[in-house]
């Protein structure tokens, strides 16, 4: 498939307003402003656009849940807190095609009746914030946002809000808390943010890539969008490929593609001609899949069939030198650090799991520890306010399920059993 979201990201100055307008930009906004807000929502619903942030929830439905008759102001929040390990797609869109995102935000605001959109960007993307703010000023100067856009009477402002380093801020209700100047901790639902969101007002929260698809749907029609991918998985999709591949990067294609094609054709194959051991297909919060499953379609539904999830389409590839106990320990360190501390199972459980994993990885574990991992994990998953708990245990449980022999070998031999050349990449060369 020819890229449509990232078609001009390699061009010098391709991010500027002039370049964007030159290639037909803001035509979607112009068209949308000529329709009724409900018609815009119908277009997005008809396209079948699903949220690109991880859950894959239909965007049109999300917008429809925002009450039309509420007397309170409404808000649109763009979730640009791209923090899922392995994900770096929104970064490209924001830095190289910012006006596409603005156009998506403006159309979204018009559809739900909001006058302000906040782009919540993660703290580490300081350089992206500078690009976004410069381009927002350029767009405002030319009348693409601000008061009375295109003489339609529609007023809309976009502001960038920079976070300060918290994975949990990517969870929608925690994002709202953070935007309100508090700790990024999730809220109890219901009420859902669509009804009681930012400052207690109706709020729609959408991922960057999701909003970038909206102008294309309005311009080219929902049929065009749906026809790009398999049924219920329409539209272009960005994939982030990292880990042990020759050419890591962001690649755009349709969801007809398989994990195998993404690794071999786009990612250039496994580094150094080695063989594949496992793939995390949708960011670190999704279960690992094995080499015999990589012919699965890399779509929302295809990966569920394979026992995993598309998530944020962050494909992390591991070759045969990777120690799966070490991998679980590395990710558990991440989740322990990022657990917001609100729910006890997750706050305490991730710390316990990390301790047990460290013990096994150092060769000091017992066979009972392996079952203990699964036991503790089963008391975290599904027992927290937000999906963080499930995310924290998914990679751990799937490595125990598929690579239990490796855990047992660690216990039996009292050391890390992965090949010596891989151990050399690490600091603590455990064992002889």
């Amino acid at each position: 498939m020819e890229p449509v979201l990232t078609s001009h990201v390699g061009e010098p100055r391709g991010a500027t307003l002039d370049a964007y307008v030159g290639r037909g930009g803001y035509a979607g906004l112009r068209k949308a402003l000529g329709l009724a807000p409900a018609q815009v929502i119908d277009l997005v619903k008809a396209s079948g656009l699903r949220g690109r942030g991880g859950a894959g929830f239909p965007t049109g439905m999300k917008w429809q849940f925002v009450p039309k008759d509420s007397p309170r102001p409404k808000y649109l929040c763009c979730n640009a807190d791209e923090s899922e390990p392995g994900t770096f797609k929104d970064h490209v869109l924001m830095e190289r095609n910012p006006h596409l995102l603005f156009e998506g935000c403006l159309i979204g605001c018009y559809a739900i009746g909001a006058k302000v959109a906040y782009i919540y960007i993660r703290g580490e993307f300081f350089h992206v914030q500078r690009v976004l703010e410069a381009e927002i000023d350029a767009a405002r100067a030319q009348g693409y946002l601000g008061k009375n856009i295109f003489g339609s009477g529609f007023d809309c402002e976009i502001y960038v809000h920079r976070g300060a380093g918290a994975y949990e801020a990517g969870e929608e209700s925690a994002l709202l808390e953070s935007l309100e100047g508090k700790r990024a901790q999730p809220r109890l639902r219901p009420p859902f943010p669509a009804v009681v969101g930012l400052y207690g007002c109706p709020t729609a929260i959408n991922n960057v890539e999701t909003l970038c698809n909206v102008p294309l749907i309005v311009t080219n029609g929902p049929e065009w969008f749906a026809s790009l991918g398999p049924e219920k998985n329409g539209g272009p999709k960005l994939y982030c490929i990292s880990g042990h591949v020759e050419k890591p990067g962001v690649y755009e294609t349709s969801m007809h593609v398989t994990i195998r094609e993404l690794i071999d054709k786009y990612g250039g194959g496994i580094r150094g001609g080695r063989t594949l051991k496992a793939v995390i297909p949708g960011g670190s919060s999704t279960p690992v899949i094995l080499p015999d499953q990589i012919d699965a379609q890399a779509s929302f539904d295809g990966l569920v069939k394979a026992g995993s999830m598309l998530g944020s389409a962050a494909i992390i590839v591991m070759d045969d030198t990777t120690c799966m106990v070490w991998l679980a320990e590395n990710l558990m360190h991440f989740y322990r650090h990022e657990s917001c501390g609100k729910c006890t199972p997750c706050r305490e459980g991730t710390d316990w799991l990390l301790k047990i994993l460290r013990r096994i990885e150092r060769g000091e574990g017992t066979m009972r520890d392996i079952d203990l991992l699964a036991d503790v994990a089963s008391n975290i998953g599904g027992k927290t306010l937000c999906p963080f708990g499930d995310a924290a245990v998914a990679p751990l449980l799937s490595t125990i399920q598929h690579f239990r022999a490796e855990y047992e070998a660690h216990v039996r031999e009292g050391r890390c059993t992965c090949p010596a050349d891989w151990r050399a990449m690490r600091t603590e060369a455990t064992g002889p």
């Binding site: 990201v9 390699g10 010098p12 100055r13 791209e82 899922e84 390990p85 392995g86 994900t87 770096f88 970064h91 490209v92 830095e95 906040y118 703290g123 580490e124 300081f126 350089h127 502001y159 809000h161 976070g163 300060a164 380093g165 918290a166 994975y167 953070s178 935007l179 309100e180 100047g181 508090k182 700790r183 990024a184 400052y199 490929i241 990292s242 880990g243 890591p248 990067g249 962001v250 995390i280 670190s284 992390i316 591991m318 990777t322 991998l327 590395n330 990710l331 991440f334 990022e338 657990s339 917001c340 501390g341 706050r347 305490e348 710390d351 301790k355 990449m425 690490r426 600091t427 603590e428």
Partner: protein, 205 residues
């Protein structure tokens, strides 16, 4: 403090924990910084000025390098909330420093994609060269070494961020010493920045 007497938290503090820190020097925003903050505060409804807490803390850090107790009280006054509410934010987010830090805070990504490409050794090399551990500042006050969780540049692993802002990508362990030397010699100009932005510069944009 862990709630389980036999399972104490290991290194560092959990986000849910508080500490009392010694008072630093008195703090107030410079007039220019105060104006910047007021400009940012216009982004939010007047009754929700508290949203400007994170931007205010970034400005504090720009002005004096770290967030001290007087700075927390000043931010609370300016933004219109309690010092405890500001403290709550400072202690939660990874990018706010609660003690003085070196001129260059070297932040190495340690999460999976970077670790698969040798990030652990990058940290070890930097640590060896500077003679300091993770979370420590060298005696001259030039460098602080930190480990960060996923910075979101996994295709350019391993990634090193400097001072919360400047990225340095594809950092092989062997290059660590050179990175530190060039930082000392030419400051932040030594950093490669984001590859995307650099591509544009190279293309003469």
């Amino acid at each position: 403090m862990s709630f389980h007497p036999e399972m104490r938290y290991e290194s560092g503090m959990h986000m849910s924990q508080r500490e009392l820190r010694p008072d630093g020097d008195p703090f107030a925003f410079t007039p220019a910084n105060r104006d910047r903050l007021e400009q940012i505060a216009t982004h939010y409804p007047p009754e929700h000025r508290r949203s400007a807490v994170i931007p205010a803390l970034y400005i504090v850090q720009e002005q004096q390098g770290y967030v001290s107790a007087p700075a927390i009280r000043h931010v609370a006054e300016v933004v219109g909330c309690t010092p405890a509410e500001v403290d709550d934010v400072v202690t939660y987010y990874a990018m706010f420093f609660r003690q003085p830090v070196g001129k260059y805070v070297v932040q190495v990504c340690r999460t999976l994609s970077c670790a698969l490409r040798g990030a652990e050794r990058v940290t070890a090399e930097i640590s060896k060269t500077l003679g300091i551990g993770v979370g420590e500042t060298d005696p001259t006050g030039t460098f602080t070494l930190m480990e960060m969780e996923c910075l979101g540049a996994c295709d350019r692993a391993p990634v090193v961020m400097v001072n919360n802002e400047h990225w340095h990508e594809c950092q092989a362990p062997e290059d660590a010493e050179r990175l530190l030397e060039s930082l000392k010699a030419s400051g932040e100009a030594a950093l490669t920045g984001c590859h995307l932005a650099r591509a544009e510069k190279a293309e003469g944009g």
